[in-house]
């Protein structure tokens, strides 16, 4: 990517300047990334090596990874995270697709207002409604259940999902859908056979953003789950009690918890910007 522009050499006539720039940029990137790198490395150390003087040289071991699974049943929390993140994303897409379709292809005078109102619900701070949600969940038996968390995350991400789908649908050429309608396709057929296949990349990146946000969410998961339905965010929080040597295990568990999302995040940077700023920055 960096080599695509040819006039680079001529513009930066001074190689020293170019060298300094490269050095500076890479140092900054390294410093910012360092805690993650260090965490990954510590996960492969023994607990004794983890608290010894910092060193990049050590004999790597998988014992922390094994210990994390053996002692705390890591897989259980990972399964909760997967179920909650994907469950809420699927549900949000299911509810949002018809809505975004209507906004993009059957706009009325109210459409803009509806979109903005949906956004404004996202501005409600979770802590402002913690008490009622907690009490409702307690009374209907949704506390510490995956269903409860899926519901909360679906509603939490619904505005962003509708918004992103709307922008992707709007970019689609209208003629194709018109043609389908001329041929007598019903709304469902139009959406299922024409719209969805054609906007699949957009739907996929919307889904990924929703998965990332749900996976990393740590307010509701800490307050609404305890043991049965706790996802990885809550599981990692259990390492906050200071008991003995646990850095290597914390690192191993953390590495497994963030790796999939880090990779997804790298892949969807561009769409993230679009979704997180509600299209205000493109």
């Amino acid at each position: 990517m960096s080599m695509s522009r040819q006039p680079m050499a001529s513009r930066h006539a001074l190689p020293v300047k170019q060298l300094l720039l490269t050095l500076l940029a890479w140092s900054v990137a390294f410093v910012i990334f360092f805690p993650i790198l260090w965490m990954v490395l510590t996960g492969f150390k023994t607990e004794t090596a983890a608290i010894a003087d910092p060193s990049f040289i050590f004999s790597p071991t998988l014992e922390s990874y094994q210990a994390v699974q053996a002692r705390s049943g890591y897989a259980r929390f990972a399964i909760n995270s997967v179920a909650v993140a994907f469950g809420s994303t699927l549900l949000a897409l299911l509810i949002a697709i018809p809505s975004a379709y209507a906004m993009a292809f059957l706009p009325t005078k109210r459409t803009k207002g509806t979109l903005l109102w949906m956004l404004s619900t996202k501005m409600l701070p979770p802590v402002g409604v913690l008490v009622p949600i907690y009490l409702i969940f307690r009374d209907v038996g949704l506390l510490d259940t995956r269903t409860g968390l899926i519901l909360v995350y679906t509603l939490m991400n619904l505005p962003i999902v509708v918004w992103m789908l709307y922008t992707f649908f709007k970019d689609m050429p209208k003629d194709i859908l018109e043609a389908g309608r001329m041929d007598g396709a019903s709304t469902f057929q139009e959406v299922w056979y024409l719209l969805l296949p054609l906007t699949l990349p957009g739907i996929a990146s919307t889904g990924l953003l929703s998965v990332i946000l749900s996976w990393n969410e740590a307010f509701w998961s800490l307050n609404l789950t305890s043991s049965k339905a706790a996802p990885l965010t809550a599981y990692i929080a259990s390492f906050s009690s200071p008991e003995g040597l646990f850095w290597a295990k914390l690192s191993a568990a953390s590495t497994m918890a963030i790796a999939p999302i880090l990779i997804l995040g790298w892949m969807t940077q561009k769409q993230m910007v679009r979704g997180l700023t509600f299209g205000a920055v493109k």
């Binding site: 900054v28 965490m39 009325t108 402002g128 913690l130 740590a218 307010f219």
Partner: protein
């Protein structure tokens, strides 16, 4: 196109309404029920530990909350936290965006590394910083300070709020960088080139071309960060639990203490109302800006 639409407008409107109904209804319920309950509870005497004591409290909870010194400490901490993190991430993010916009070998990879912390879940970043970076005995920072002949710092005992600011900034600096870097991509290169031809130095280009171009993106970053930073919770929960004393208790954490540790639903709800009002002041501006963007 308008003619074919006009005949079916009524039908179309109805169809649009029914297609949007699930999303709108759910969000309406999600907003109105808890909001209504928070407001209602905030006017009630309601403590889960004292089931006998119930009834209308009027503004008692607000009175109690507003005369509680803890609230003002928490408000102060909230503002300090938001203010410092905003200053660090916006200034830092702008500078880093300009840096990573330059061309250098491996730029793509360096960028990916620099935005990575944003994808790390808050509980992980807080615990990694607390233990492996900032630990006074075996942390990387302690080792670094000692190698430079400086005394190691016990971050969370001596500078608790600063420690939280550092952790939260580390998470949100990449966010600012990501957004501003994207915004820089639409900067007119010819304009920069022309200014350079006219003899403008890098500083002049930054202040008179780059910064004005980034103005809108920067305000978006500020508003979005504010909404999230006002209610920072997990980072405090796993590192300091609001302490020592109230040193790192922000508004969100105070409400959590009142609600789920003291079980005082009434006072916690009054705190919730305060948080909602604060967030809405910011939200109004953000929604307006997005609305303006929608018209273009």
């Amino acid at each position: 196109m308008t003619r074919t639409r006009a005949s079916g407008r009524q039908v179309g409107g109805l169809r649009a309404l029914s297609l949007q109904a699930p999303a709108v209804t759910l969000l309406l319920l999600w907003m109105l029920i808890p909001l209504g309950m928070t407001l209602w509870f905030s006017l009630q005497r309601y403590n889960l530990l004292m089931p006998g004591m119930t009834g209308f409290a009027g503004f008692e909870n607000y009175e109690y909350l507003l005369t509680d010194p803890a609230l003002w400490v928490a408000m102060g901490n909230t503002l300090l936290l938001v203010g410092w993190v905003l200053a660090i991430t916006v200034v830092g993010g702008t500078l880093l965006a300009v840096l990573f916009q330059q061309e250098f070998p491996g730029r793509g990879i360096a960028r990916v590394l620099a935005i990575s912390p944003f994808f790390v879940m808050p509980t992980v970043s807080a615990l990694v910083w607390k233990n492996m970076m900032m630990h006074p005995g075996s942390g990387v920072l302690a080792w670094l300070f000692q190698s430079l002949g400086l005394p190691a710092i016990d971050w969370f005992s001596n500078f608790p709020l600063t420690s939280i600011v550092i952790i939260v900034s580390w998470q949100w600096l990449p966010f600012a960088l990501l957004i501003l870097l994207t915004a820089l991509q639409s900067l007119d290169e010819d304009q920069v080139e022309a200014a350079r031809m006219d003899g403008a130095g890098p500083l002049a280009i930054f202040f008179f071309i780059t910064l004005p171009h980034l103005k809108r993106a920067i305000s978006v970053v500020i508003m979005i960060e504010m909404i999230f930073l006002l209610t920072i919770f997990a980072e405090i929960f796993v590192t300091t639990s609001g302490g020592p004393g109230l040193a790192t208790t922000n508004l969100a954490y105070l409400i959590y203490i009142r609600a789920l540790l003291d079980f005082d639903v009434g006072v916690a709800s009054a705190g919730g109302v305060v948080a909602i009002i604060l967030a809405n002041i910011v939200a109004i501006f953000l929604v307006r800006m997005v609305a303006r963007n929608l018209e273009e």
